[in-house]
């Protein structure tokens, strides 16, 4: 009975939402910031990808906050999962296809992930997208060979250095006289790999941080599942 009542109420809500949706104008949202940024960003930041200029230049502090949320979630998950006892048996090795596919895909995923990170200011993509691909690259061998040890220490150090590099680049802008996270080092030629000042460096830090963080998180969950009786 309660379920049917809930269903009825939800149907009513859906109807109301759809009625509201029909009232919206499509493609005519009253926002002026976007067009202003579109016309100003190539000259101000020098990145061919305007979304990147928004993420790292105009809203750089938001991105720092996002990295903080990611870090907090990963830390909380690690705390909840706890340490893996040394006595437990890991899962058996995966079959032939998965093992060799993982060996083949690992360098490929690494190259694709790094390419997407490095070209974040020129093409669609960037540190977050490339970082997730890096995480997949490092998680795949663990999926194929659960017995192999995941180097949490190395990943933790890389993650900490990447996070510190992001904040450090932001602080360097202060010594240059600009506000926190202000792009520096000149704009370069629009559309070249070395352009947009510190934006590629910031995206590289973001990519490494996201990649190591997600890989560590997935490795932690996998180790926990191996322990779960």
């Amino acid at each position: 009975m309660r379920r049917y009542l809930a269903l009825l109420l939800l149907m009513l809500m859906a109807l109301l939402l759809l009625a509201v949706a029909m009232q919206f104008g499509f493609g005519a949202a009253p926002m002026r910031v976007g067009s202003a940024i579109n016309s100003a960003a190539p000259g101000q930041v020098g990145a061919a990808n305007i979304v990147t200029s928004v993420v790292l230049a105009y809203r750089g502090i938001d991105t720092l906050g996002e990295l903080a949320i990611l870090f907090t979630a990963a830390t909380a998950a690690g705390l909840l999962l706890g340490q893996r006892p040394a006595t437990t048996q890991p899962d058996p090795e995966a079959g032939f296809i998965l093992r060799h596919a993982a060996d083949l895909l690992f360098p490929l995923l690494l190259v694709v992930g790094l390419f997407i990170i490095v070209h974040g200011h020129l093409t669609p993509g960037g540190g977050f997208q490339g970082g997730v691909i890096l995480a997949a690259a490092f998680f795949l061998p663990l999926l194929a060979r659960p017995a192999s040890r995941f180097r949490h220490g190395v990943f933790g150090v890389v993650e900490a250095l990447a996070g510190a590099a992001f904040i450090g680049i932001g602080l360097l802008a202060l010594t240059d006289g600009g506000p926190f996270l202000q792009p520096m080092l000149g704009k370069g030629v629009l559309g070249h790999l070395v352009s947009a000042g510190t934006l590629p460096l910031l995206y590289a830090a973001v990519g490494l941080k996201v990649g190591t963080e997600l890989a560590g998180l997935m490795a932690g969950i996998a180790a926990y599942e191996a322990r779960d009786p």
């Binding site: 379920r3 809930a6 269903l7 939800l10 809500m13 859906a14 939402l17 759809l18 949706a21 029909m22 919206f24 104008g25 499509f26 493609g27 949202a29 926002m31 910031v33 976007g34 067009s35 940024i37 579109n38 016309s39 960003a41 190539p42 061919a48 990808n49 305007i50 979304v51 200029s53 928004v54 993420v55 809203r59 938001d62 991105t63 996002e66 949320i69 990611l70 979630a73 990963a74 909380a76 998950a77 909840l80 999962l81 093409t123 669609p124 960037g126 977050f128 997730v132 629009l190 559309g191 996201v210 997600l214 998180l217 997935m218 932690g220 969950i221 926990y224 599942e225 779960d228």
Partner: protein, 149 residues
């Protein structure tokens, strides 16, 4: 009357939101609730990206240094990029919580978890289980669980 593309897209994204809410309210399995939250997020993100749409506009990326006549709004795209990453982190955290619940109680059904939690909380507080005077004298729930002291 033929619906225009905007109405179809709005219905799609609102539909995803509604399916997500349906899942959260109507399912009893914790993993399915987490998946419903993911669906809800997808619908909300689609709605945000669509708000930046301009008729006939290009993606906000300059190819060969040429600026197109009109480009879509880059701000909602940057916002959604942020939202997706945060969503993934929070979903991973939710899955870890679900894992912990499974080790603690051996079940993922929220009705069973509720009775077990109630029992544990009243036990820890040192008060008897609250019993409704109108409750029929049914067989007590036999719930498979382990590891809860």
């Amino acid at each position: 009357m033929t619906p225009d593309i905007g109405q179809v897209l709005f219905c799609g994204s609102f539909g995803l939101v509604i399916i997500g809410i349906f899942g959260i309210v109507l399912t009893n399995h914790l993993v399915r609730i987490v998946l419903s939250i993911a669906l809800l997020e997808t619908g909300a993100n689609l709605l945000l990206v669509m708000s930046g749409y301009r008729p006939g506009a290009a993606a906000p990326i300059l190819v060969d240094g040429t600026v197109p006549a009109s480009m879509v709004d880059p701000v909602p795209q940057a916002l959604v990029l942020t939202a997706i990453v945060i969503g993934v982190a929070v979903q991973a955290f939710m899955m870890v919580l679900v894992l912990r619940v499974h080790t603690a109680y051996g079940t993922l059904d929220i009705r069973e978890i509720r009775t077990l939690l109630e029992r544990d909380i009243t036990h820890a507080a040192g008060v008897p289980l609250p019993v409704s005077p109108d409750e029929p004298l049914a067989q007590p729930h036999t719930v498979l669980h382990r590891g809860a002291q």
